[in-house]
Symmetry: C2
Subunit: 417 residues, 2 copies
């Protein structure tokens, strides 16, 4: 009997009626003969409410005690969902993270899963029960409750699917899959039926909010077939139809398409800022001096470019999230500039990043030239370029972002997907 | 170093500001050199909110899953209170019931505590930490979360104090102690500085809402000195003053007063109803036939009186809570009357119970006659009488209830306490 793991996000669990819909959907899979493990998130807004209470008491909440408080959101969800299934006449039982147990390290509020004991889950599945597991949480060796951080329920679900060697991990969410780009920008964006995990990883880290990056990594490491699909459809649609909907994350070696798609999607991130440190002496340790100071201030750095030096001096350019731009500039001007002996610091807080992603790019020359040519034809100046094996990202003026996304979507014929 | 257990009710934990006040009060005790274990309830209204969610999904919620849901209320409280103490610069740590562990039987929603492992608590107290324990909850042998039922946090606190052999268990609540009677009925009602546990037990079971009956029994069985006092005073009042406030529950053998008070208080319960089954054949099993049917319908029976039979027939009278009166009458008329061969069923849903309670009554004759005489002087007819070693209860017409309470309070000179 095939085993599947279902994960439902906070919106899907957001009201009593929605919880009842989740139960109907789960029951449908169980009726069809599947063993089903369900990982629900806290009801929408609940985690924020609990964090709000904590911050009113302790502006920088103690991390262990914060986990004690926030882990209750998922605990309420599993009990309610279990009741909704029992009310439908199904046998169901819920377990918290510590009851499984889901063992994690001791990093409160951002713990990593170390192991999942499947015995108690298997025992109940074998009795014909639907098993509901609290996502987002675990227990440390010292017996403290830990949480996995924001979006951790995705990670819990994929880890659960890996531990149980599930046939598929279905991530039910408020979108119906992964698109070639944001449909709000390109109206004829298409839903991808499949995406490789490497592409999904780039999509996730480039700002697509569909899946948490860590859960995609985990799916890749353990080869968990993971499907992103909508929880907002009628829960009673035929299972045949539902099980083919959404977007399935696959693994390259399984992909036997003769005609490998070159580009799978155009991702973008509007709120970027770029900073250039000019006239830096080209000696060892300079990059560390500049970026170390930025990292110490908890500012994330994304693209980094250093040009060939001329006359022993070079320019060093990188991007930061726009909200951190002013803080980064102050830090560089007041501290780093003198330390590294730079001639000037210049920046631009109105830039955006546009990326073309595709596993097929590995074996196809000409993707970069088609991308740059398209932008040239539209009169868009490229300010920075960064490439990986399956991705090309450019930084451009913010005002051209939508234009660039639409032009690239068309140039790579993504509307025909 | 003396160890004390503090218990705070839902009202005391009802808002962020109140939680901060609780923390200041606890910190004051810790500053004075006490080891402090704190058992807070869920924030006021939270348990009802959670039960409401459950009932929307499952009108008669599965008991195991309901415990999963409702136990989160106290878990949030302990985390927040721990943070409030940490914010004050105190070392504090919180534990759920299963983390202690507090072992219970498997009766979900009304579990009984079987044992408390004190090791983890002691270890943290010995490190100088304030230890916060979730009340109302425990864990069964099978590893399921259980709850102790309404008011269970009182029971948790007293059990904790017993296990840790605490010097005192302080129950902080929204009243400032136990009174000779309800001050809303008798304006010169006096707060009792002490009350024996037997008297407190009668008070609790007679409707005084100050302490849950089970927690009083537990205090009695384990001789836990338990004090009921107000959480609404300024948290910074001198500890000397606070530690003498409220009402201390004592044990008879410790009571060395030469002049034992005869009566400690007048308790009352307005919403009673009495039912008489007339002309019942006086044969074995009849009482069981009548009361068994009532008990099967989950109706609680309080006072029971059966008169001497005359001519092989007797009358059987008992009281039930007024909200159950109609249901009980229907049951008796439609089912029991024919079964037992009674001639008629009569009832009165407008009666109240008034009780005089006092451990001193054991050694003083004349308490009953003074009570009945006082009621006679006021022209109040006594409908039923029931006595125990330390209590005399009468059922009277509801409209005389306040008059009876005031007259008895004065007759036993309770205003001079």
């Amino acid at each position: 009997m095939a085993l599947v793991v279902h994960k439902y996000g906070g919106t899907s669990m957001g009201s009593i009626d929605r919880i009842k819909n989740v139960a109907r959907r789960v029951a449908k899979w169980h009726d069809a003969g599947y063993q089903v493990v369900v990982v629900p998130s806290a009801m929408a807004g609940e985690t924020n409410r609990l964090i709000g209470l904590a911050r009113e008491i302790m502006p920088e909440p103690d991390q262990r005690e914060l986990d004690m408080v926030t882990s209750t959101g998922e605990q309420v969800s599993i009990g309610l969902l279990s009741m909704a299934l029992l009310q439908l006449g199904k046998e169901a039982v819920s377990f918290t993270g510590w009851q499984v147990p889901v063992k994690t390290d001791t990093s409160h509020t951002k713990a990593r899963i170390q192991s999942i004991d499947e015995a108690r889950i298997r025992e109940n599945l074998d009795k014909g029960k639907i098993v509901i597991i609290a996502g987002f949480q675990g227990i440390s060796d010292a017996g403290n409750i830990t949480t996995l951080g924001r979006g951790g329920s995705d990670t819990s679900a994929v880890a659960m699917a890996a531990a149980l060697k599930a046939a598929e991990c279905l991530i039910y969410t408020d979108v119906d899959g992964v698109y070639t780009t944001d449909p709000r920008v390109v109206t004829d964006a298409k839903r991808l039926k499949k995406i490789t995990f490497e592409e999904m990883l780039e999509m996730a880290s480039l700002g697509s909010k569909v899946l948490q990056t860590r859960s995609v990594e985990l799916a890749g490491n353990y080869h968990v077939p993971t499907r992103v699909l909508s929880s907002l459809t009628d829960p009673d649609i035929p299972l045949e139809e539902e099980s083919r909907s959404g977007t399935l994350i696959t693994f390259e070696e399984e992909n036997t398409d003769m005609e490998q798609t070159v580009i799978s999607g155009i991702a973008f991130s509007r709120d970027e800022a770029k900073i250039t440190v000019l006239g830096v002496p080209d000696r060892p340790g300079v990059a560390f001096q500049i970026l170390g100071a930025i990292a110490d201030a908890n500012i994330e750095v994304d693209m980094i470019i250093q040009n060939q030096s001329v006359g022993g001096k070079t320019d060093f350019t990188f991007t930061v999230p726009r909200p951190d731009y002013n803080r980064a500039m102050d830090l560089l001007n007041n501290q780093v500039k003198a330390e590294v002996g730079a001639t000037d610091i210049i920046g631009d807080a109105k830039v955006s990043k546009v990326s073309a992603i595709g596993i097929g790019m590995r074996s196809h020359v000409g993707v970069a030239s088609r991308m740059f040519g398209t932008l040239f034809e539209e009169g868009i100046n490229i300010l920075m370029i960064s490439t990986s094996e399956i991705k090309i990202s450019v930084i451009i003026d913010e005002k051209y972002m939508e234009l660039a996304v639409r032009a690239l979507h068309k140039a790579f014929e993504l509307e025909k997907m």
